[in-house]
Symmetry: C2
């Protein structure tokens, strides 16, 4: 393993992206996002993604010099055209516009289109909670999950993010797939020869299996079965057709088997508590629930571990496998 | 069993409520809502609830002559004070206001407070889809579900409803609890001596069990485990503190062990597709996904069965057990 400080990691990602066709704004936004993931102890959204990003730009599919543009379509709706670049720059461009619409209207939506690889969504919703807002985020991906009763992949793992501003504590933030397991977890189980829970997916024959290789050939399942599948269906509709971007099956067609990052959209919704009542009283009331959760032994809030990681990794730095470090060096 | 036409059932419920302290507006809204449930083949939200409603009014806790009032708090937020009555009249009062705000702003929220017994939420979200809008609904209830890692009931079963307007078909509508099973299903399993799946809940000792009696003494679990619990937590926050109404634990305190219908709030969010793009094109794009679902053998859309029931029951009427019919007659 190679140990890096966050700043070293950020420079590595930035340089690598600039050397491979991104301009500085695009490289900075994407590098910052990867390092934010490393800093939260979530390497699957970190430097590990760099090769994929470079491949996307080099293939000409991804615009490394994107200039995302925000258009206010209605008093509560802003659309951000990502100009065919990676998601982080578009998300950065949109944040202020979305916050401002939500403060004026009480609730507002940001429709992101024409972007590549909406990764983990907790950074967007956490930024909304840091501004005192309640946030939701939704995005489709590639078809991995079967519809309820079906056996072929149709929906993405279709995560949903949520954030709530807290009093004297980091915000409550979760970002969870509609599928029972993350795609990457199943791939890692296959690589390591481990089994997966029977709830993870089905084989091409539609039968339950605990063999990750069979799931990868078949389809994943929604978490809790048909209820998770219903959420995945909802995410397809509101972060695909509603905002004028791809369904997961269309993102796969568009990629044309290149295995690059998915092109698609993202829907973010923000609510301003001060438009619903007294914002301080609302936060204090939320704390009553958090106190009742903490009273029970064994409980942990969603996202709690990430905030603990963040403190530790800011001090200690993070590690990447030597093979990944060498791969990045080879891309310079 | 006693067979009734929908009109007979409606008159029965209306008369019973009027004879027990509701005025005509309140009785009509609640009776219509119960008969809508019977008409969709969902008796657990139908006349079965009448005794509970009557008890609530007779105890003086529920205002049978409520005059709900809608206040626009921000361009995208309307608050409906239910005046301590049953939810259906407040929901009826709010519908036009919410639709109008959503059409003007692209997205809007309705915050319902000071109401009793938000029942199934599909009627509200279906009405939004009938008006061409995308709808979400959320409500807490009484504490039944343990937080992730915990063992004591804290969250309600906390359903989330969703609707999407379709082209040439009834809207897509789902309304699903954050818990693995409905409370009523577990109670029925206990009554009939059946076991429940191990995912349904835990005993007071925090251990898995398939005995519904033990679950009823312990706590229910979120669907898919911690992910469903995260949704339940979200629903508590956005349909409790955000809108200025009760958490599930507060609703229980407020009831004070009387076992009446829960007092609390509901959050509804509506989005106007025409503010995001071309509404016809958006619906047509959604149909591409529905066609891909229908192509797979064995699939069924959430809510599909209800629409089939609706057609049949409108022709054939519905049945109530003789014991329930007699109970209602005794309340007249």
């Amino acid at each position: 393993m190679v140990r890096l400080t966050l700043e070293e990691g950020r420079k590595l990602a930035f340089d690598c992206l600039v050397n491979n066709g991104c301009d500085e704004d695009n490289a900075r936004a994407s590098a910052d996002r990867m390092i934010q993931a490393e800093g939260d102890g979530c390497p699957s959204h970190g430097l590990f993604r760099l090769g994929w990003y470079v491949k996307g730009v080099k293939s000409g599919r991804v615009n490394g010099k994107a200039r995302p543009v925000a258009d206010v379509l209605a008093p509560g709706v802003v659309r951000i055209d990502g100009d065919g670049g990676f998601a982080p720059l578009g998300q950065r461009v949109a944040h202020e516009a979305l916050v401002s619409l939500a403060r004026n209207n009480g609730i507002a939506a940001a429709a992101f289109v024409n972007m590549f690889h909406v990764a983990a969504m907790w950074p967007e919703v956490e930024a909304l909670a840091d501004a005192g807002l309640v946030g939701f985020a939704f995005t489709p991906s590639y078809p991995y999950v079967a519809p309820a009763g079906g056996s072929k992949p149709l929906y993405g793992t279709n995560p949903m993010g949520f954030s709530w501003p807290r009093e004297g504590a980091p915000p409550l933030v979760f970002d969870q797939a509609s599928s029972s397991m993350a795609r990457g977890e199943i791939m890692i189980a296959a690589r390591d020869g481990h089994s997966v829970p029977a709830t993870a997916g089905i084989g091409p024959d539609g039968e339950e299996t605990t063999d990750p290789n069979v799931v990868l050939k078949g389809a994943q399942l929604g978490f809790g079965g048909y209820k998770g599948a219903a959420l995945a269906l909802m995410v397809e509709l509101i972060a695909g057709p509603l905002i004028g971007d791809f369904l997961s099956i269309e993102a796969e067609e568009d990629d044309g088997g290149q295995g690059g990052p998915p092109k698609g959209g993202e829907l973010i919704i923000a609510m301003e508590p001060a438009c619903f009542g007294d914002a301080d009283a609302i936060r204090a009331h939320g704390e009553k629930l958090f106190a009742a959760i903490a009273e029970q032994e064994g409980t942990r809030l969603p996202g709690e571990r990430r905030f603990q990681n963040r403190e530790r990794i800011a001090r200690e730095g993070f590690e990447v496998p030597q093979v990944l470090y060498d791969e990045i060096a080879g891309l310079m």
